[in-house]
Subunit: 166 residues, 8 copies
């Protein structure tokens, strides 16, 4: 059995060039992924909450891995209950769509025909505050922040945390 | 271990000024919250239903605590089944976002880019009728009313109940 | 057709005039409701499906009682799976809001500020095809039809069934 | 205490004696049922909470109508969050199955073959603390209590409330 | 009674003998199956309700098609709300597992190691009252009955309905 | 390619012309359906993924049968987690509504009054990328593709797969 | 309006001694409670993960506040996805029932009649690894750990974290 | 920023030896893991279905990646609807717990105190038929098979597929 170590997300499309009848024997049995480490995820979530608290915003910050599952989630003392979900969904969305949620938010506002995107998956949220985390050209996770009085302020905390930690 | 009694929601941000490496030892281990008492919540829900019934509206009134969980819920004889959910969600929203839901309803109508707020959490509802309950400058819970023929009428019952009871 | 005469939904609001401190002893312990009978509900759902099939539409028809729970549901051979949910939700909505869903559909289209109504409860659907069933001035249930190529056609089948059966 | 006399749940089975081909025309179009009034439901829930608090138990008490939907729900200051669900489910179960939940709890313990009852519906809970409310031989609703340190203690509060209020 | 003769569920396994590399071109593009017709499903559910009502049992009867989706569901006037779910799940289970649910109920009771079956899918219920509907050696749907005071009584109504209608 | 010839979806409406009082005896007990075979569904999903990968798009392709349940689902190495849901929902929608989802997407954009369609069923999604699979004038299933940078590109992969396989 | 600062969870039952007719005016409008601070919650979760990793166990640790909502959640690099839910539910259970989950686990094993506890609420889990966090005789939150090869090992990490941090 | 390529699941615990105050700067920012490739997942699922069909069993086979999300899912023509969920949950369980589900099934049967495991997560299922897929000592995914008349037969198909494909 052959196996290749692929640079995740930048791999050439070996799969699609493998002939159908025999691909089980010749295609690589595994692909490899980079994911933000648990320790970095903790630091990021912690730093994002601190950045927002320094400005007087009570938020939740959530960091997810490449599949969109939570690695770290931290909530300020007075952050609303809904920020648990909003920050997690922003992170999920940024990861699964590999874009800042602010971009997607604009897309929907400008192209109303895209509004059904909002009903696609309960884990998706098209509000600013979700940022993919990119290391060596691979998206290795995402961070979402919710609870600041304005999505652009959530973004600022997320950005500042990424700069401080990674 | 140190411990501080904080005036909830008005506390200075002690957390963010605590140094990272040692905050576990020096930051306060607990924060304190004020929450509407069970007895006041019962009275509020009861009064809101009475206020609406006096006007001929069959409603449900729900009072939630600071985490958005129900403390009291009361439904009129002929209120539609959906008012259980609508009143609870209005209360949850007013509490978690610390604003009357009527304000949030206007915000979304005026800024369509904010429409994805509606998909953020199944417990959120951006229709008039949810009011934060503020005592001594702290939001200690919220009331939601649903079922009157117009959200502004739901608000009137909620307001009248707050004035009568607190 | 025989019909029991009942006072539900037209009762004066005894509750709201009962004094608070003693209402437990003096207010009526029960209220009474009229609900469409099981046999009539079966006939209505069956007739609505027949009416639509006669026109070549494959639908589901659902009849609910006063709490919005299903009493009868019938699906045509080739009706899409989603019509189970759509017809039930139309019936729930018409019952719980005591209005034809077509009216509510127009309301939302004309007043965009009311759009959050759509997220209020998973059982609500603001599309034409749900009709309250009124007998002796009381709403005793509702019927919902889904699957015709146009909500107004769903309404026609529902209307025709009500006329034929009740 | 006044009480409207109604025939629900004791009606003879007119339906089953109606011939199939014509039942739509001859069976009664509606059936009537009695349901605990909103005011009595509030009194019952309130009294059950008081009874438990007097003994030092922090509980939620929920009263549901004949369809199992909440009419009144009241929670003590320190009752666990899960008591909202547990009390509601006990009430739903007692109403829908028209038996005290303590009986059903014993049934399952004695006949393990009945254990799948527990997976039948998310609204069902087979623990002591749910009691049907019977007036004039009709089950007009149910009360559920959750949070006392033992289901039999939940039952005591429910029983005492029924005796005190109805 | 007329019946279309169809080969579903008795077809030989053409698929598994098709070679992998080329199956797209040589295997049949479609398979066919027989499903109980809407009209028969209605008759079955109606008859099952009548059979139970004649014995004084208030039940819901649900008939599902080969995928387990509802075709007909009918509820007696006083059947508990939970019978909507219980009858539907019994029908789903009998269809998807192609066995009477009473057999599966015994299996779990006798082999406790099989208890996790109960958590496999929210649509499954291992209580007596679900019966596959077999025509010409093909399972074309299933009926589930819930609400009689004993699963064997639910079965009797289902059996009697199948005999009377098919 | 071999294909069984079946009459599903083109049958005349025997049901609606059967007299009510006696239809149980005279209407056909079953109807028959053609459904895309398991082997063809596998090939279609596989081919759609290959088509997209050849263009550099990481997608999930899902093929459903006539009831909207999954027969085959395949996800590219780097396709976002949300594409599992989006492709499945597109396929469900195309099947249940018997139209390409791109048509329905346009309908909602052009007629805002139809927006509540989006809340009708969690399985529905009104974005391009879902295509009914029609064989011998019968819709025998549907394919949905999600993850390409634009719904029209999802459609291209689905179309190409249908042409290549069927 | 009067207001009392109550020592949460140890308060005398003022409510129940307040006369019914007037309790709205005389009972305290709010109650106060202590909750583990965000900073301590983060430290606790972090320490629990470290304690487990030092022993070679990959876990998730979750800390919840008094309502059972997450304040901090941290997952090791290789902890299974299910540990997100299991650790959160253990923490919720320990908080809402104010007992270590290991005690409740034993209770159910010894008294099979209590097995329905498991179906009471989706947030409850009766496996060892959840511990209430008590400060000054008040339960101010709870920690749950999941993923170690044995619930008693999850408990050890939780215990060690509480000792190290508080 | 440092970064390490770790052999997933066999890595030494670098994290836990990193000092707390500075781990953000010195611990590796990412971890890497191997996951079964999309092409191998398809082959595995396809082969498992074929193996079962050759024995006359109609099953669904599902292959998940390291986070437990579906990569490939294939269902035989006549496999019951519930096999979609059962096979997926078996695969999820084998992956998340890194053991064959047959082992876990025995564990619960032998130690009844472990029964609450069944309520831990809706994605878990403790029935035979789920197998971790291990390559180079790392668990890179899992396969689940459901629908054979006995879990040990599901296992045989899964095992045979793993042998044939990897």
């Amino acid at each position: 059995m052959k196996r290749l170590t692929l640079a995740a997300f930048t791999s050439s499309l070996i799969f699609s060039t493998t002939s159908f009848g025999s691909f089980a024997n010749e295609a690589p049995a595994t692909s490899s992924f980079s994911q933000i480490s648990s320790s970095s995820a903790f630091s990021l979530a912690h730093e994002a909450v601190k950045q927002c608290e320094a400005k007087g915003y009570n938020v939740t910050a959530t960091v997810v891995g490449v599949s969109g599952n939570v690695i770290a989630q931290l909530r300020s003392d007075n952050a609303g209950t809904h920020t648990l979900d909003s920050s997690r969904q922003k992170a999920f969305t940024a990861m699964s769509m590999k874009q800042p949620t602010a971009n997607l938010m604009k897309l929907i506002a400008e192209k109303p025909i895209m509004q059904p995107l909002q009903t696609m998956d309960d884990n998706l949220l098209f509000l600013a505050g979700g940022m993919p985390i990119t290391i060596n050209n691979a998206v290795v996770g995402a961070i979402g922040v919710g609870g600041a009085p304005g999505g652009h302020l959530d973004v600022e905390c997320a950005d500042a945390a990424i700069k401080a930690v990674l």
